[in-house]
Symmetry: C2
Subunit: 149 residues, 2 copies
DNA sequence: AAATCAATTGAGAATCATTCACAAATTATA
DNA sequence: TATAATTTGTGAATGATTCTCAATTGATTT
């Protein structure tokens, strides 16, 4: 954990940003809840537990900054909120998501899976791919089992 | 065009919804601007040209309805607006998008491309895929050429 | 065609997420 | 420690979307 904070600190410093206590608290929340897909509001409430004086705008600003530095990815599952997701250590690409239409659970897929597709897109559309967003909507394992009962 | 309106009319009637003049005007705008990715506001302004009395809320309601009936897909490219995109005739799946990070242009890919990936997801994650969203972010052909100049 | 009932509409208010403005506080640096 | 630049908290402002509700429309039955 500390190691990852250090790395993020360096990334910020490289662009002459500071890792203020507020930013650190925000990053810690993201690290602790890495599996989740927190909205800015969610993050705000969790950070408030560590640093009650923090303001919502600061959380937004921090998330925006981390997003620009590609430390987190901003995603949108279609409910009117942006969610923020830490990039995996050293991952070149954004990971994928499985959103269950029944229960709303979001699973992550870290595997790339899109290498071939990207090659086709680059070749046939002459589009230089820098990043991607892939989300599957469907029924998760648990809900499939429930349906059988 | 008339043929597609008829088809949509039937889809609505099948769920006992009416194709009111306002809804028809909205659908016509979507058909005429099929290549674009219009926001609700965009649609509103265009519909207003045909039917000046229409209200913004009605456009939102219509788009929401068409979205539920899977006649249009609601997408979000990360600027705070939802965009609405007509499904291709008879397409089982949503098409993909190429968003240029330079100029913001959005190209469409109608080809499936994800068949193999979906098989893997269904097999390895036991997730029953119903739909997907795939967007590539990168540099379009035109902007690549500009960079060389 | 008139009566009826539910669906739909327009207008504006309300809500919600996000951004902005700005004075005060903090930080790194000289 | 003084200085300058960043960052912060607060509350107000914005912008997209939804809600409320009375009025209108549309289909259906007589």
């Amino acid at each position: 954990m500390e190691h990852r904070i250090e790395r993020i600190k360096k990334l910020l410093h490289a662009q002459s940003y500071k890792l203020t206590p507020q930013r650190e608290a925000t990053v810690r929340v993201l690290l602790e809840r890495e599996e989740d897909h927190l909205s800015a509001e969610d993050v705000y409430l969790l950070v408030k537990e560590k640093a009650p004086e923090i303001g919502l705008a600061t959380v937004y600003r921090t998330l925006e900054l981390l997003s620009e530095l590609k430390i987190v990815d901003k995603i949108n599952f279609g409910d009117g909120v942006s969610r923020y997701d830490l990039r995996k250590e050293g991952a070149a690409h954004f990971h994928h998501h499985l959103v269950c239409m029944e229960c709303g659970t979001v699973e992550e897929i870290v595997e790339d899976l899109l290498e071939d597709v990207e090659k086709i897109v680059e070749r046939d559309w002459q589009f230089k791919v820098k990043d991607h967003r892939l989300t599957f909507h469907g029924i998760c394992r648990k809900c499939q089992q429930k349906e059988l009962e």
